[in-house]
Symmetry: C2
Subunit: 409 residues, 2 copies
């Protein structure tokens, strides 16, 4: 019997009514003859509420205890969904991450799945039960619960699909799929019916909130077909798949979509002495403090000194500034920065063999009078860091410039 893994996020599980709606959806899939494994997140704002409690009792909660605390959110969700299914006459069993055989390694708060031991899941599927697995968590070698970090339930679902050799992994969320741009900003944006894993991963990393990029990459690695769909309707959604059809799509369509991110700050070290090891001296303190750096630009050195700029999330701005100041001082330089920035990216595998997309992008932004602070490119995307206040305008301009609104769906 075909195995399908479904994932329901926090917004799909926000209240008891939502849980019952998810149960109806799972029941329908179960009755259609599928073997179902369902990965769920904590209900709505549960994780935020638990983090607020932790902040109330401790200035610097230990990562292990944070993980013990947060794991309970998903454990509540799985039990409630199992109950709602029982109420509808569907045999179902809830499993915590450890019970489901999810083994995790790495650091508390940002664990990595090392292995899934699926014996218990297979046994329950053989009994025609729906298996409900707590997302975002597993057991480490000490026997403790450890979490995968935020967005981790996507990863749980895709890893389950890979291990169980599932037909597909269905990611249910609060939007209809992946769009050419955020429809709240660009009314003419349209759903992308089929997208390649590499484009999807780039779009996720660059700001599309629909799916966690780590999960997309894991899916690509293990050839898992992923369907992104709304948990509130029966619209077709977006399929993430690497195949022949897609190859054709990729050559005909050059730009897949425009994504943006409003959570960007920039820190620049100016006039620092450069030499071997300079970059390491700048970025090691940030890494040790757990600050993720996104775009990095180093200017060409003049007379032995240069500028190094990088972006971080707004929440890390003050800390990054402080760390960068110390390094800059020791290297004879200074620090400046901007807190309220955003970035806008043009993503598409079709860009791979067609140079000039960066230039086109700069042209479009320049015509609109939008200043570009930093640029970052890879094979299939171009990203510009711009003032936060210009981001919406930039997305609309680029969507039109690359003729995405005229594309036939």
């Amino acid at each position: 019997m075909a195995i399908v893994v479904q994932k329901y996020g926090g917004s799909s599980m926000a209240t008891a009514e939502h849980v019952k709606a998810v149960a109806e959806r799972v029941k329908k899939a179960h009755e259609s003859g599928l073997s179902l494994v369902v990965a769920v997140s904590a209900m709505g704002k549960t994780t935020d509420r638990l983090l607020a409690l932790a902040a109330e009792v401790s200035r610097e909660p230990s990562p292990r205890e944070i993980d013990q605390l947060l794991a309970t959110g998903e454990e509540q969700s799985v039990a409630l969904l199992a109950m709602a299914l029982h109420d509808r006459g569907v045999a179902a069993t809830s499993l915590t991450g450890p019970q489901a055989g999810m083994r995790i390694t790495g650091r508390y708060g940002s664990g990595v799945i090392s292995e899934i031991r699926p014996e218990r899941i297979h046994k329950l599927l053989d009994e025609e039960q729906v298996v409900i697995v707590a997302g975002f968590q597993g057991m480490n070698d000490l026997g403790d619960v450890m979490t995968l970090g935020r967005g981790g339930t996507d990863t749980t679902a895709v890893a389950l699909a890979a291990t169980l050799e599932a037909d597909r992994c269905e990611i249910y969320t609060d939007v209809d799929g992946v769009y050419t741009a955020d429809p709240r900003i660009v009314p003419k944006a349209h759903r992308i019916p089929l997208i390649s894993p590499s484009e999807m991963a780039e779009m996720s990393w660059r700001g599309a909130r629909v799916m966690h990029p780590r999960a997309v990459e894991l899916g690509a690695l293990y050839d898992v077909e992923i369907h992104v769909r709304s948990s509130f309707n029966d619209n077709p959604g977006t399929i993430i798949r690497k195949d022949d059809d897609l190859e054709r799509l990729e050559t005909s369509e050059t730009v897949a979509g425009i994504v943006h991110d409003l959570d960007v700050s920039r820190v620049t070290l100016t006039g620092i002495r450069t030499g071997p090891g300079t970059m390491s001296r700048v970025f090691t303190p940030l890494a040790k403090s757990g600050i993720s750096v996104d775009v990095i630009v180093e200017s060409a050195p003049k007379e032995g000194s240069s500028d190094v700029a990088f972006t971080v999330k707004r929440a890390d701005f003050a800390k990054a500034w402080r760390l960068a100041s110390e390094v800059a001082r020791s290297l004879g330089g200074e620090v400046e920065g901007e807190e309220d920035l955003g970035k806008v990216s043009v993503v598409g595998t079709g860009m791979l063999n067609r140079p000039g997309y960066a230039a086109s992008m700069f042209d479009a932004l320049g015509r609109a009078g939008i200043p570009i602070r930093m640029v970052s490119t890879s094979e299939i995307q171009v990203t510009c860091v711009i003032p936060a206040e210009n981001v919406e305008e930039a997305v609309r301009r680029l969507h039109k410039y690359f003729e995405l609104e005229e594309r036939d769906v």
Copy 2:
């Protein structure tokens, strides 16, 4: 180093502020040089909130899923308390029931501790860490979390104290200890400084809310000295201990206290045919439905028929009535009952060798014009079921009648 087990209930952990206050208390005990194991309950109304959620998603939630759900309440508490201790510079580790080696057998929702494997606790104590254990839960043979039923954290704490051969088990609650009667009803009631386990167990079963009776019995079985104290002050509390001093106390003091319970309903089967197996036919359906029956009275049979009366909690009244009706009809009888009853009990080991206490109790209630519906006696207590509206008056009368207010403390 002396090991002490402390238990903090839901009211002691109600908010983040409460958790911090508990952390201060634990810190002080830790600094005094004790090896500390702390068992905690879920925060305040968490368990009720989770049960309400379960009722929203399912008409009849499965006991296994209820246990998976409820266990998360205590898991949150232990993580938060660990964080609050870290914040105060105290090394501490939180453990779920399964992580602490609590093995449980029996039925979901009413599990029984079968074994504690204390290796991990001992290892942490050797490192001079405070070990915080989730109360009310453990792991069954399937690897699932199972709960001990309500009030189970008392049992967790006493079982830990017995296994670890602790010096004592301290039960922190929202009252100063065990009183000769409820001080809200009898202003002259006073704290009992020392009480025997058998008296304490009877008082708990008969309505004293201060400690779970199963935990008291477990403590008696394994000779665990239990201190009941307030988590809000440093008052001395009540010591539950079996020893020479207490023997003397028992012979000099006859009545330890008056306890009451307002959650009582009565169902009576009248005029039913009696014979071998009648009682089993009446009570087996109740047991199968999970209804706990407290007092049972069977009248002497007249001409082959008799009356059987029993009490249940108010929440079970309607169901018990329905089940009793079916049995009564099949035995040629009828059913009647009263929903709003209470019971009042006089408890004391001193009563053991002194007959006449029941008569004295009836005398006191009779003088006050309080009707007695049912009577139940054991070696160390007499209980009368009376109308709920008369319970407070009865407690005051009996406290005075047995001269408890004049006792020297």
